[in-house]
């Protein structure tokens, strides 16, 4: 969080309530915490990074350690993703700067919320963020890039066994569009892999929404 927040806003407490809500499949509690965070003027990026992303990483850890079931992990993701819809009236009211990004999950990647947050962050910063969704064939990405001619293509992967798919997708897109910037990221890179993809020409790996926002600022935020 890098902007002043409303007095009395206790982020750690709200975060814990939100996480408990996710683990208890309690959509209403999560919604209340999410709105509390949104209305605290902590910034949309903070809501995504410090509440949604952090909690889902923790949920993922709990699942990996066998503390929660895969059903709980899936429901936590579904609840979080549905709450992102609450940001859209604000998100899509931002003035546009004429630039655009195509964001997608690599083939075989069914966790799409990270990619969607990336597309949303582009929107928040005045870009048009086209989001293609989970498990998207590279051919479809190439078609959309040809149609929209975006400044950047962003590839998201949440699970490390999909890292190879990131490399092959980035290679195919680079071959089809030598000039478009390619960004990759997601939880899949949590334990490494950055150097492998950055060997490809014009490919940057960003491991947080903060890094992404810095990249967006560097490449033209608003008009």
């Amino acid at each position: 969080m890098n902007q002043p927040v409303k007095p009395g806003f206790a982020p750690e407490e709200v975060y814990r309530t939100y996480l408990r809500g996710l683990l208890a499949h309690d959509h209403q509690t999560c919604r209340a915490s999410f709105l509390q965070w949104l209305e605290a003027d902590a910034g949309l990026r903070s809501t995504y990074e410090d509440l949604v992303r952090r909690s889902l990483y923790e949920v993922g850890d709990l699942w990996e350690r066998g503390r929660i079931s895969v059903a709980t992990e899936h429901l936590a993701t579904a609840i979080s993703e549905s709450l992102l819809n609450l940001t859209y009236p604000r998100l899509f009211a931002q003035p546009r700067n004429g630039k655009s990004a195509v964001v997608t999950c690599v083939p075989n990647e069914y966790h799409q919320i990270g990619g969607k947050m990336v597309a949303d962050l582009f929107e928040l910063n005045g870009w048009r963020g086209y989001f293609l969704g989970a498990n998207c064939p590279v051919g479809d990405v190439i078609k959309l890039v040809a149609a929209k001619r975006p400044e950047v293509v962003a590839l998201s992967a949440a699970t490390s066994f999909n890292l190879a798919k990131v490399v092959s997708a980035a290679t195919e897109i680079r071959a089809a569009f030598p000039d478009v910037a390619i960004l990759v990221g997601g939880q899949a890179f949590r334990w490494g892999g950055r150097e492998r993809v950055e060997r490809l020409p014009g490919v940057r790996c960003l491991t947080s929404l903060g890094e992404l926002e810095a990249w967006i600022t560097e490449h033209g935020k608003h008009v």
Partner: protein
Amino acid sequence: MFDRPDIAKALQTYVLDTAPVMALLLDAEDRVVDANDHARRVLGAGAVGRPLAEQIVDFHHTLDVPAIIRQGDTVHRLTLNTAAGRPETFGFRFFSVSVGTLALASLDFQEQVELREQVLALNRELNNLTRQLYQANAELRELNQLKNQFLGMAAHDLRKPIGLIMTYGGFVLDEAGAQLSGEHREYLQTCLRAARGMKQLIDDFLDLAVIESGQLRLNLASATAREIIAGAEPVARLVAAKKGITLLVEEVDDTRRLRVDASKLQQVLLNLVGNAVEHSVSGQRVWLTSRWEGQNLVFAVRDEGPGITPEDQSRLFTAFGRTGQRKTAGERSTGLGLAIARLVVEAHGGRIWVESRPGHGATFLFSLPTKEEEKP
């Protein structure tokens, strides 16, 4: 060791009491004669005593239940109505025993997993569609803004030449009209009427463009209903009188005040009266009234015209939402007056609507809420 009778008995008791497995004992007619606790919980106590075939959901009567029961070496997916009131699919296996048939069944977990995956995929798709909808709306808003800018610029640039046509055309008619033939005077008057119509259209375009682009600024000041009406009444009377229509303004409760842009509301009243006059014939009446309904001030303009069908009512307040109604004297209007009225009323936080039946006239109403500080 597990074949020791006491251990076997304990295992059997535990499994039968706690495992999510239904155990049903069927007699020679395939009637359920006993069931374990889990089966009674899932299917309800009424399951015992009824043939199993009766409890299976088989919409198309394609299942040969007796044959299935006697196929002991296969797991059968069968759907049964449960005590919770919804059908569930179970994996059944049948064993021939000394007293009949033992049916063991558990929820079909494969189906549960498949369903969960499908629900999650649908949820993802729904969320993506929601996002696309917001994105498309944002793009439409941008286009609408561009349209308004264009409209504003075009209308502004057209206004001046039309003003010149009207001014100098008026001079010619006033100063040289007597020298023109009757036919030529009529031509000139037709030109001037067309120019006036065009100017009205341009003014409405500009109003609409300003309001829709969010640039409408309300000059709020305290006013009573009477004061608001008084500002519109003289022009409204002229408009009505010109067509031989009587305008009746009814006295209103004038003790309460509210903060409004009176001049904008007078424009709304004139639009509504003008509309009522256009749809009335000479000799008919138009009423302009106001009343308080709780915290809302309600204005109403009623006419004795032909009324409006429900289909036409739904598009009355949209720009160019022309209806099948004909103006009684072939008047021309821009089709924007009611849309502008709606936008002005909504900018005040109010609402506008119409009450009408074909053949029984129409009443256009709008209500304005009182802000907290204005309450008496």
